[in-house]
């Protein structure tokens, strides 16, 4: 049942038009493809690989922290483990996670286009990502780096051992993949919308990816040049950030966080877009306050550029600047709060199907609220002075990045699985895994808030005994969380071969992507769709209320 277009859904018989998966079986047909859907699959495979490596590093960290003494890893080994964990998870999983897989796959489908605006550029950005990834693998194999993912100077530029320059090069290169992806999305959304697909009819998923792309394009180059300067300092003694050479280490922090704070929104904005789709589809109801939610994405992307100084409250930054950044950081919470309240209002009087994607979405909202509100605490100057650089911060950003982004990633994986693979996943297993992930996540990361407030700094591999109970609870939770993440791998893998064939629109959802077959043919639609309704035009159960609409 489709309402995005008043034409009957065009579902071609399998023989008439092969799906994108059947458009070629050779390796070459995958590696040289310009089909956005195939490139999305390439990304999915490669980011899953890096998620695994990052997770192994995380496992080492959690094992080491079982005891207060440093008995599993040496001090240096531990430092390399969390550095690799951070670098890989941030740049090789979280940043590309939702945009480059689901964004790549869905944006053209959702706006009724045949592909992204620059298909070859899209393939190029995957290759750039792969080159960067290979360099990172070299870094891992050659012994890693001990700078942390933040590369603070002068530690990274003068004192650190390890393959710092190679790691910087990897991150530098991966940045160009981000820039090209963002550019491609922006142009696609502007220039390839189907006839009738006005801005007010864009799915919120597309809005949030548009906002993300702004950050990709405008923030990433600053990181690129900054890391280049760190490498120059390390290699040639160009002391832009080295006080011994006349430079200023705080300048590095300014430039680094000018990218890295908006980068948090690169990770969370696409997730917010996913949740808007999941909630409306499960509730079979129009989103509450479409424009507020849409503009909230843009507002988050823009205001997100004004708040980076809240990472520097105790760094020696001028306290006037700190007071300004604190105020701006509180302001950025407003659009996020709007989204959460609007999702809740969307559920009100809906026709709610308690499916696995909704469970993931509700889990996301809970964790995102917890992460966001503790973020608000960190924006408060006097509180931040105490908990900055402690486990409180670690807990906070894991709630946003793992509890938020990764949960949304799994939610998206279930929701669009039928569209991407043409198979249905086993619903009962999926609900079970959603619950295991939610419980496992909280057991892993909630204790870290307490550890942080008690005063345990981050990046410690040995710690006072009084912290051990909470550390052990956290490590046990990590085991549960790992099980929760492996479960979907198993049953989704099973469903690839044994799952029931998926119809074009298994959810009864309204987006354009559900009007074409599952999986879609090479150019998405047999004929150009014409859009005549909004994105969430669900039937209203009571005909009387129609007059109010």
């Amino acid at each position: 049942m489709t309402r995005a277009s008043n034409r009957p859904p065009v579902v071609p018989p399998e023989a008439a038009l092969p799906s994108y998966l059947r458009a070629g079986y050779t390796l070459r047909s995958w590696l040289l493809t310009t089909d956005h859907k195939r490139i999305a699959i390439l990304y999915l495979v490669s980011i899953s690989f890096f998620f695994l490596i990052g997770a192994i590093a995380a496992a080492l960290i959690r094992l080491e922290l079982l005891t207060p003494a440093g008995d599993l890893l040496t001090n240096d080994g531990y430092n390399r483990a969390f550095s690799i964990h951070g670098i890989i998870m941030v740049w090789f999983f979280l940043i590309p996670s939702i945009p480059n897989t689901f964004g790549n796959f869905l944006i053209p489908l959702m706006i009724g286009a045949r592909d992204l605006a620059f298909p070859r550029l899209n393939l190029l950005s995957w290759y750039i990502y792969v080159v960067a990834g290979l360099i990172t693998l070299y870094v891992v194999l050659s012994g890693g780096v001990d700078t942390g993912w933040t590369f603070y100077t002068p530690l990274s530029s003068v004192y650190a051992n390890g393959a710092v320059v190679a790691a910087i090069l990897a991150v530098f290169i991966s940045g160009f993949s981000s820039i090209l992806t963002g550019l491609n999305f922006i142009v696609t959304v502007h220039k390839l919308r189907a006839p009738g697909m006005t801005w007010g009819r864009l799915p919120l998923f597309v809005w949030s990816h548009y906002a993300t792309s702004i950050i990709f394009v405008l923030a990433t180059p600053v990181l690129a040049i900054t890391l280049l300067l760190v490498a120059a300092e390390r290699l040639f003694g160009i002391g832009v950030f080295d006080p011994a050479l006349g430079g200023d280490p705080l300048l590095f922090q300014h430039l680094f966080w000018f990218y890295s704070h908006p980068a948090v929104y690169i990770m969370i904005l696409p997730a917010l877009g996913v949740i808007s789709e999941l909630i409306t589809s499960a509730a079979h109801k129009r989103i509450f306050g479409y424009w507020f939610v849409a503009y909230a994405s843009i507002a988050i992307a823009v205001i997100g550029f004004f708040v980076w100084g809240h990472h520097m409250f105790v760094s020696g930054q001028s306290y006037y600047a700190s007071a300004i950044f604190s105020f701006l950081s509180i302001a950025v919470a407003v659009p996020s709060a709007i989204k959460v309240y609007n999702w809740t209002a969307t559920l009100y009087k809906g026709d709610i199907e308690l499916n696995a994607p909704l469970l993931y979405a509700m889990g996301f909202i809970g964790l995102f609220v917890a992460g966001g509100l503790t973020g608000l605490m960190l924006a408060m100057l006097a509180i931040d002075v105490h908990v900055h650089d402690t486990y409180f911060v670690v807990a906070h950003f894991h709630y946003i990045m793992v509890g938020g982004t990764v949960t949304a990633f799994f939610g998206a994986m279930h929701y669009w699985w039928p569209k991407i693979t043409g198979r249905l996943y086993p619903e009962a297993w999926a609900r079970a895994s959603a619950l295991v992930i939610l419980v496992g996540f909280n057991v892993t990361f909630f204790p870290l808030f307490l550890l942080g407030y008690e005063g345990m700094p981050r990046r410690y591999h040995v710690y006072p005994e009084s912290f051990q109970v909470l550390q052990v609870i956290s490590s046990c939770g990590a085991l549960l969380l790992a099980a929760g993440y492996l479960l979907p791998v198993a049953y989704l893998g099973w469903s690839l071969f044994r799952g029931a064939k998926a119809p074009a629109n298994p959810w009864g959802a309204t987006g354009l992507e559900w009007t074409t077959s599952s999986p879609p043919p090479k150019h998405n639609f047999i004929e150009q769709p014409v859009v005549e309704r909004g994105p969430y035009d669900y039937p209203i159960s009571d005909p009387l209320s129609r007059s109010n609409d």
Binding site: H254, F258, S318
Partner: protein, 89 residues
């Protein structure tokens, strides 16, 4: 000479004149206003290039927005960073 070509030539004359002006101003005793004047003139030159050479005058709102975004965001970076450096101690 068509109007379009004449317009480009005039823009170029303007640019060269501004260049002469900014070099001239550098030798006047203006004190702290000197860098401000130099950057003001640089902005005017950039605006001429954007408006006439890059033809933003013929464009709609979207390309103007795209061309302006980089400058706006760069000024966010510079202004807030300067806010720290200027107000330390």
């Amino acid at each position: 000479m068509s109007i379009a070509v004449r317009r480009l030539l005039l823009a170029w004359i303007g640019l060269i004149a501004l260049l002469a002006l900014t070099v001239g101003l550098a030798f006047l005793p203006l004190g702290a206003a000197k860098p401000a004047a130099a950057y003001l003139i640089a902005t005017a030159k950039a605006a001429l290039v954007l408006w006439y050479f890059m033809e933003l005058r013929r464009e709609g709102g979207l390309p103007r927005l795209a061309a302006g975004a980089g400058f706006v965001w760069l000024s966010v970076l510079l202004v807030l960073t300067a806010a720290d450096f200027l107000s330390r101690n």
